[in-house]
């Protein structure tokens, strides 16, 4: 079973993917407590292993180096977590891509301005909100008759998609907005309340009131 050190800042939803996957597989993954974002990842010793200086970054006990959170999560996952058949493995890949290519861009474009860490542009935010509605509608319909995204058990697909939705559910999807999406809400709630997930992300706090935009 894989084991090693994960370099990341705290509360990094990308790092959560690997840490949760390790909970399920039993992989021994420790977050480096000495890591300081903006300092450690600019040092020569870090850049020698991880030339782009990005996190999360992973060093296995056998000195194998990995960047990109999906790769690290994949490395520390059990075989079953990655999909039990060829088709299920491909579906896991599908949802991983969907999270990165569809959910995250929409999430950034809505959440970042709402947290005032990106400039507010009404057109962009309105478009992001529509995109998020489309995403939730798609997932809601997909999860109508399914408990998990792929197969009959939790997989890397559920963890990856749930982690990519964390910031949305935390900051902007207020109760009224998310109310119609019964199935995806049920699924998301199931995932974030799994004991192995709670161990990593803590007790999840849903958005009660969307952040106001600083125009």
């Amino acid at each position: 079973m894989a084991s090693g050190t994960l370099y990341t800042y705290l509360n990094n939803f990308r790092a959560y993917k690997a840490l949760i996957a390790a909970q399920y597989s039993g992989a021994d993954v420790k977050v480096d407590p000495a890591f300081e974002f903006g300092v450690t990842n600019k040092q020569e010793s870090f850049l020698k292993k991880f030339p782009q200086g990005k996190v999360p970054a992973f060093e296995s006990k056998n000195q194998e180096y990995l960047t990109e959170s999906n790769a690290i999560a994949y490395f520390v996952s059990s075989e079953q977590f990655k999909g039990s058949t060829l088709y299920e493995q491909a579906l896991v890949q599908q949802f991983i891509s969907y999270a990165d290519n569809e959910i995250l861009p929409a999430s950034y474009a809505w959440v970042y301005p709402s947290l005032s860490i990106a400039q507010f542009n009404k057109l962009s935010v309105d478009r992001a909100i529509e995109d998020v509605k489309g995403i939730l509608a798609y997932l809601d319909n997909y999860l109508l008759a399914k408990t998990y995204l792929v197969g009959e058990r939790i997989t890397l697909a559920d963890i990856t998609v749930a982690c990519s939705l964390l910031q949305l559910y935390q900051h902007v999807l207020n109760p009224e907005f998310r109310k119609p999406y019964i199935n995806v809400n049920r699924w998301f709630d199931t995932i974030v309340n799994q004991p192995k997930v709670v161990k990593i992300i803590g007790a999840f706090e849903y958005c009660q009131k969307s952040a106001e935009f600083n125009q």
Binding site: Y9, L10, N11, F37, G38, N101, L104, P105, A106, Y108, A109, Y112, L115, S116, I117, A118, S124, R127, A128, D131
Partner: protein, 31 residues
């Protein structure tokens, strides 16, 4: 959450702009 750290992450904020442009372009080409 450390907003200052989040602000330093490089994220794709305007993907929809390019996705739309690409779709329109290839729809026109298809015709």
């Amino acid at each position: 959450m450390a907003l200052e750290i989040l602000a330093q992450e490089k994220v794709w904020l305007n993907k929809s702009k390019y996705a739309d442009a690409e779709r329109v372009y290839y729809e026109k080409l298809s015709k």
